[in-house]
Symmetry: C2
Subunit: 128 residues, 2 copies
DNA sequence: TGACATCCAATGCACGTACATGTAACTTGA
DNA sequence: TCAAGTTACATGTACGTGCATTGGATGTCA
């Protein structure tokens, strides 16, 4: 907890920028070219897959939003793209008809499982 | 150099995402509201100021591009915005008329010096 | 010199994101 | 019970970015 100079934090920020840009750029390219998925699309599939915290296969938009660095509107459109691609389904919630339950389709789970090794490989390459 | 599990790299990546998004989001907001500067605009001013590596006050677009995580086209437009705002000047290079020399105007240096404390404060807050 | 490749920067275009707003559904309190 | 406030999600709009292409300048080599 010693005080840090401006140079220190500046250098730390540069390093963060480097890692972030290099990694997310390659993630974007690899996921897009190998699996036709944008990075935030992959991240939605990842969460819906139950990989992070267990779920019964259904996740509300609000919960999804809380786990992602994406605005509500961007998330809405991302899910729309995934829905049009047949990878997720929107289902109305019986108890609160404002809310949507999202779930992976079979195709969605297959696509995610196919893309996961690619995602992990890039992370290993840049962070290991 | 021990092998890292998928969980390890995944957690590391989550942490990087958190730091990156929290920090750059607040940088963007603070610089915009207090100094009418976007983050990449500030970064251009920062480099032109000679803060990083010394320069004679003139920097070529290509050199700028090499120091930023921004495409050539995005950089070209960013500089156009700064030029329209009267913060930088484009000057043709005598020796290579393909190249542009960029330089801060007085207003550009003033804006950068005003914004620098804001930038540093946000970095300290998130990285210290 | 001339023909062709390479390089620098600008621009048309498509796309993803954030902000502001709209719409419908739920909640609260008198 | 109903009006006002709140919440969930979608959508209009503006904007910054990347990719592909263009135009002009420089380099290369025969």
């Amino acid at each position: 907890m010693e005080p840090e100079s401006d140079q220190d934090v500046c250098g730390q920020w540069s390093e963060t920028l480097r890692v972030y840009h290099d990694t997310s750029c390659e993630l974007e390219n690899e996921l897009q070219s190998l699996h036709r998925l944008g990075l935030s699309e992959f991240e939605v599939l990842q969460i819906l897959s139950g990989q992070c915290r267990s779920n019964d296969g259904k996740v509300k938009m609000k919960d999804l939003e809380a786990e992602m660095y994406l605005s509500q509107s961007a998330l809405s459109r991302t899910v729309t793209r995934l829905e049009k691609a047949g990878l997720v389904t929107r289902a109305a919630c019986d108890f609160d008809r404002r809310a949507n339950f999202l779930a992976l389709t079979d195709a969605g789970r297959e696509r995610w499982e196919a893309a996961r090794p690619t995602h992990n490989a890039v992370l290993r390459k840049h962070l290991a």
